[in-house]
């Protein structure tokens, strides 16, 4: 059976480049914007299903025009088409308002499987997939680490505190891709060239506004100083000598 698959992705700051400003405690995000790590896993999962069973993969993202880069990346990996839901600042909306925007876009599409990353690298709340699923009246399966198409649906393993829970899900269904589901491919040169010719459309979205009574402060480092000894800006030999001395006073080495 060929699958029509939609993947929700988010463009995020490169987490490796994030630093915290000492004086203000505010995060410095760097200029690099990337496709979210879990979202790349979601795209890869969609591509693997398509390669095994046929079908079509559409990637959808909400955000400012820069989000096209993240969508291009997914197209270069092998997705067939991309839809951009234009909103100025995805992070300025609460997750339910954003989910309403995305559910509006998705209700205009027909699909068997909606795959998302388990959570974004920046705000990490992991709320949008479940909220979109609820708004669309679809079942959800979270923390997915194995996904195989079988007769009558998808055979899935999901992470729990007790081990891997195994479930069979009928389609249509929302799948949240977790670390460990796969290793996302790097786009090939050919893929990058091909992506330029693939359709990337901007869709219309209804006026967006916060829909629940929620606000949040600008992220900042906790005021609490580190509890222990931190050795910084010292040559390795010196830093290690201090550590070894400390370990010895504690009878740990």
């Amino acid at each position: 059976m060929a699958y029509s698959i939609v993947v929700l992705v988010k463009q995020v700051p490169d987490l490796n480049a994030v630093r915290v400003d000492k004086a203000s405690g505010k995060p410095l995000l760097g200029d690099q914007l990337v496709l979210g790590a879990a979202d790349a896993i979601a795209v890869e999962a969609a591509l693997q299903l398509k390669e095994a069973h046929g079908g079509e993969v559409t990637v959808v993202s909400a955000g400012p025009p820069s989000v096209k880069d993240a969508l291009q990346r997914a197209l270069a990996m092998g997705a067939d088409r991309a839809l951009l839901a234009p909103i100025d600042q995805a992070n300025a909306l609460d997750t339910l308002a954003l989910s309403r925007v995305l559910a509006g876009v998705l209700s205009g599409l027909t699909f068997d499987i909606l795959i998302t990353g388990q959570n974004s690298d920046d705000y990490e709340s992991g709320q949008v997939p479940a909220q979109v699923a609820e708004l669309l009246g679809l079942p959800q399966v979270s923390w997915v680490t194995k996904l195989v198409a079988v007769d009558g649906g998808l055979a899935i393993e999901r992470d729990t505190e007790d081990g891997k829970q195994q479930v069979i899900a009928a389609t249509p269904v929302v799948i949240m891709a977790a670390d460990g589901l796969n290793e996302p491919r790097y786009p090939s040169l050919k893929g990058i060239m091909a992506a330029k010719k693939k359709p990337l459309e901007t869709v219309e979205v209804a006026a967006v506004s916060a829909t629940t009574d929620i606000t949040w402060s600008d992220p900042a480092a906790p005021q609490k100083p580190p509890a222990g000894i931190i050795v910084q800006d010292k040559p390795a030999a010196e830093a290690v000598a201090e550590l070894v001395a400390w370990l010895r006073t504690k009878n740990l080495a």
Partner: protein, 323 residues
């Protein structure tokens, strides 16, 4: 007028989950800020034992929702049970445990009720008008305070963020809450559970020294550095989830929420960022040493001794100086 706190507890094989003990403490923090009474809902089947345990932890009431459909977790059945409880009790705030199921349910219920929500919260304060929930973002380097107004809000606790509640000597009443799950469809059907692999390096649980490596090691071969250090200290080797998922190390060695919990005399984290899900498995260690090149890595917040630097310089030097 909505009032009070509702926490959604979880049990497994006849015992409360450790995360449920932390959840009670989160509930007590919310009660102190918001007021009203603290009710714990325990969905499941055959959960009389854990319900009694829950009743002794300082909650005001335990409500038990029993149904065969709640024995294994599915979003649809559990969401229906929580929905029924919210409608019956009209709480100001509903708090889920810091588990994979808690994280799964909280946003879904928030969407169902059109209410604000915050995930993975590590502190709860504010007042009944505006609940303030603190949560880590950007890899735990920074945090944000989320203010939730309105008359209903949903939160999930961060794993390990709240102390485990202990028995108070007072027993709260345990009451049944009728839930009708006949309409819940089985569009997601549970077929089994492959239990977490508890075998393998059994030395890990009893080791006095544990040396753990993470993604900062760059490639599997570099784990030799960690193995050498563990050898020098007579310790066991462990790993973060990132490297287990990448297939560098076996799941036996994974420390954290979905791995093992250890509390050795000394835990050395090499190239591990210190995500809450990792820390929950090792923060009970007597001494924690962190080696990481990112001064803002959250691991330094819990380290007894931290070196900010390149592990490829620090660890070989440490191995030398320990010889």
């Amino acid at each position: 007028m909505s009032n009070g706190i509702l926490i959604i507890a979880e049990s497994h094989e006849g015992a409360l989950r450790p995360a449920s003990l932390e959840l009670v403490t989160a509930g007590l923090a919310a009660k102190a800020a918001v007021g009203g009474s603290l009710t714990a809902l325990l969905p499941g089947s055959n959960v009389a034992g854990p319900a009694t345990e829950l009743a002794g932890l300082g909650v005001d009431t335990v409500k038990v929702a029993e149904d065969p459909k709640l024995s294994a977790f599915t979003t649809d059945a559990w969401a229906a049970a929580v929905e029924a409880a919210v409608k019956a009790l009209d709480p100001r705030v509903v708090i889920f445990a810091g588990t994979t199921s808690g994280r799964d349910l909280a946003p879904r219920l928030a969407a169902r009720f059109g209410a604000p929500s915050a995930a993975n919260v590590i502190a709860i304060g504010g007042s009944s008008d505006t609940i303030v929930a603190t949560r880590p973002v950007l890899g735990g380097r920074v945090q944000t305070d989320v203010s939730l107004g309105g008359s209903l809000a949903f939160l999930s606790a961060g794993p390990g963020a709240f102390e485990k509640a202990v028995s108070t000597g007072v027993t709260a009443p345990v009451e049944a809450l009728a839930v009708d799950l006949s309409g819940v469809s089985e569009r997601v059907r549970v077929t089994g559970l492959a239990a977490a692999d508890s075998g393998g390096s059994s030395s890990l649980a009893s080791a006095e020294v544990v040396v753990a490596g993470g993604r900062g090691l760059k490639e599997p071969a570099n784990f030799a550095l960690v193995e050498e250090l563990a050898g020098k200290l007579g310790g066991a080797v462990a790993a973060s989830r990132a490297v287990v998922d990448a297939g560098w190390r076996s799941h036996h060695e994974q420390i954290g929420q979905t791995g093992k919990t250890v509390s050795p005399k000394l835990y050395i984290a090499v190239g591990i960022s210190g995500a809450v899900q990792h820390n929950v498995g090792m923060q009970g260690s007597e001494a924690i040493v962190a080696i990481n090149r990112d001064p803002d890595a959250p691991i330094f917040k819990i380290a007894s001794f931290g070196i900010v630097g390149d592990l490829f310089e620090i660890v070989p030097e440490l191995n030398r100086q320990l010889s």
